[in-house]
């Protein structure tokens, strides 16, 4: 028996009690945070009658997916009654290019700022960092003007551009800190072997960047998908993203308030970020830690 095991067995009483307390608290907090999700899900499977008469925490008596179908395909948003599916695709069309472009540009920036340093690279990086601290609201009007000049007002392309510009500060910061610890000798060696700027980036740096790419993609995806302010300001009507449509759906006040449809739509809106977290979450923590320790 090792010394460690002995210590645990002799201290079994207090150790077990502290375990019970720790797990008890964790379970209480988990339930607390999961309750809204539970209410959303159970409500979305109830009929309107049941919602009106029943307990908010009760499970649906006769589960039905009607509300989901309606939310997706036939709920009325403003004057059109085609559900949120069109807006869901709007968001996808916005978030995918915006995430990809901002990640690639951030990686390139990080590469240049750490491995191809030029006079004044610190100032440039400092200015890019500054972009992380500018409040959204303060850039709305200048951004609207720029989009107008470029002819991108009320388009998904315009929204993509806004998100790329706004995300660049963060993605650059992530990649710069990650590449800062990447051995410069590898870059020098590749240079001597005859590899150029982009070849080194593609063949040497990118294959070693998986953790930070995951972090950046999750961060950008969540932020851009959940963004409401830019969406409501720079896209309107048919080109609105999901978040704006959800707001319109919930606040459309004609007739009865269909809580089950609202809840279903809200869950649909939250689903992509949830999936991204579940699929890549492991890497997210690992990448954050790596950045935190080495950066």
């Amino acid at each position: 028996m090792s010394a460690r095991e002995m210590a645990i067995s002799t201290a079994a009483g207090p150790a077990r009690w502290s375990r019970v307390v720790i797990y008890g608290l964790l379970i209480v907090f988990a339930l607390f945070y999961l309750t809204p999700l539970f209410v959303m899900l159970s409500t979305s499977f109830k009929t309107l009658d049941e919602i009106r008469s029943g307990n908010i925490l009760a499970l649906p008596a006769h589960p039905t997916a009607d509300a989901w179908g309606k939310a997706w395909g036939s709920a009325c948003i403003g004057v059109t009654c085609e559900g949120i599916k069109g807006y869901f695709w709007n968001s996808i069309k916005m978030v995918v290019p915006a995430v990809l472009i901002s990640t690639v540009l951030g990686a390139l920036n990080g590469y240049v700022l750490t491995k191809w340093r030029f006079p004044g690279h610190r100032i440039v990086f400092g200015m890019m960092l500054f972009a992380c601290f500018i409040p959204f609201q303060s850039v709305l009007i200048p951004m609207a003007r720029v989009l107008g000049i470029l002819g991108l007002s009320n388009t998904t392309a315009g929204l993509v551009m806004v998100h790329v510009v706004y995300g660049l500060g963060f993605t650059t910061l992530f990649f710069r800190n990650y590449y800062d610890t990447f051995p410069t000798e590898l870059i020098q060696s590749a240079q001597m072997d005859g590899a150029g700027f982009f070849t080194i980036f593609r063949r040497i740096l990118l294959p070693s960047s998986a953790p930070i790419i995951v972090v950046t993609v999750i961060y950008q995806f969540t932020n851009i998908w959940n963004d409401f302010l830019f969406g409501v300001s720079f896209a309107s009507g048919g080109s609105s993203p999901m978040t704006v449509a959800l707001n319109n759906l919930v606040s459309s006040s004609t007739g009865v308030k269909e809580y089950n449809v609202d809840m279903a739509a809200a869950v649909i809106a939250a689903l992509p970020t949830l999936i991204v977290y579940i699929v890549a979450g492991r890497y997210f923590m690992r990448g954050l830690m790596a950045g935190a320790i080495k950066g």
Binding site: E185, A190, D193, G194
Partner: protein, 367 residues
């Protein structure tokens, strides 16, 4: 005209002169070792030759053409880095093939050449592994293979053995020597280890504070060091340094260490402050030529297996002497020793430069 010519090379970083006018020549097939304490500028010099750092003044010519304005990849130079710099995401085979791939060599030729180089360095069985799965010595070999496969006109090694343990270091050192003998490659090698410098080089350049202290063959550096720095830096144990004053008749040196006067082979100006340098092997049992016998108390006994080093008390100074391992001695005993003064190197204490060389040769150091 030499194959490699470095001409009054200078590099200044932020007002600090790292290299203060370096002149080096190296013949084709030569093995040049740059040696010196850390911060002496040897790595900066190597990076300048590689093209990774631009010199602020001076010229580097390879085969008669200046390369200072060429991109590193255009200089036809391969480098083995201290950390080996193997690409972590590629297999060993892909690592070795990378320079060929960049040069646009067709795939089948690449495979063939990688195979040939891998065979020379006995790493054929490792070609499918990733660098992370290799030991230090294997990584070192892969790094050399990647340099060799290009058949460059110049190889640069930046302290390639400093990450290996002592036993492996000796093995790989021998391998590098063999490689040089078999391929007749021109090599410039940086190290802070004077034993590596002595064993590998055909020419040694000793540097300190961005200035070349001495350039010459290993035996020149060892036997006729140009100044007290080189004498102290090269050789283990370090050369015994005995400061003193030239006697009134000019034929002896009265040592500062105590009441000893050692005779001089060549007369010097009376009263001049000089330092007498004697290697451990010039103090020992033999008794021939020009010298003096002293009875000195033993302070420390250091057996190395092959030799026995005795640290002897000479007045206030402690000198090391080399004896055959068969000699038996205890601390505290009195040991009669023969100081072979023909092999003494005399330095001016003031300027720290050599006045009289061991072999009485003209100043080779001035290269």
């Amino acid at each position: 005209m030499a194959f490699i010519e470095i001409d009054s090379l200078e590099r200044t970083i932020g007002g600090n002169k790292i290299l203060k006018g370096i002149d080096i020549e190296l013949e084709k097939g030569g093995f040049l070792v740059l040696v010196g304490p850390s911060g002496c500028g040897k790595s900066t010099l190597l990076n300048a030759i590689a093209g990774l750092q631009q010199p602020t003044a001076g010229d580097i010519r390879i085969d008669g053409t200046s390369v200072v304005n060429l991109h590193p990849s255009k200089r036809d130079i391969a480098m083995v880095f201290q950390s080996y710099a193997l690409y972590p995401n590629m297999t060993v085979g892909e690592n070795i093939a990378f320079p060929l791939e960049m040069a646009g060599t067709p795939k089948e030729n690449r495979t063939k050449e990688v195979g040939a180089v891998a065979k020379t360095l006995q790493i054929e069985h490792l070609l499918d592994r990733k660098p992370a799965q290799l030991s230090g010595g294997q990584r070192q070999r892969v790094a050399m293979a990647r340099a060799l496969v290009r058949k460059p006109r110049l190889f640069l090694f930046d302290e390639p053995l400093s990450n290996l343990d002592a036993k492996l270091r000796v093995e790989v050192r021998a391998e590098i020597k063999r490689l040089h003998q078999n391929t007749h490659a021109t090599i410039i090698y940086v190290t802070h280890d004077q034993i590596e410098a002595m064993t590998l080089a055909t020419k040694i350049v000793v540097m300190k504070d961005g200035i070349i202290q001495q350039a010459g063959t290993p035996s020149e550096i060892y036997n006729t060091p140009a100044n007290m720095f080189v004498a102290d830096f090269m050789g283990s144990p370090a050369m015994n340094m005995l400061p003193g004053t030239v006697t009134a008749d000019g034929r002896g040196v009265a040592l500062d260490a105590g009441a000893f006067t050692l005779p001089l082979a060549t007369p010097l100006t009376p009263g001049r402050k000089v330092t007498l340098g004697l290697r451990a092997e010039a103090i020992g049992a033999g008794q021939s030529g020009f010298g003096v016998t002293l009875d000195l108390p033993v302070e420390i006994v250091e057996p190395t297996g092959s030799d026995l080093y005795l640290w002897l008390r000479l007045g206030k100074a402690l000198v090391s002497a080399r004896f055959p391992a068969t000699v038996e001695q205890r601390p505290g005993a009195i040991q009669p020793v023969w100081l072979d003064l023909n092999r003494a190197v005399i330095f001016d204490t003031e300027s720290r430069e050599r006045i009289v060389g061991a072999a009485q040769e003209p100043a080779l150091a001035a290269t």
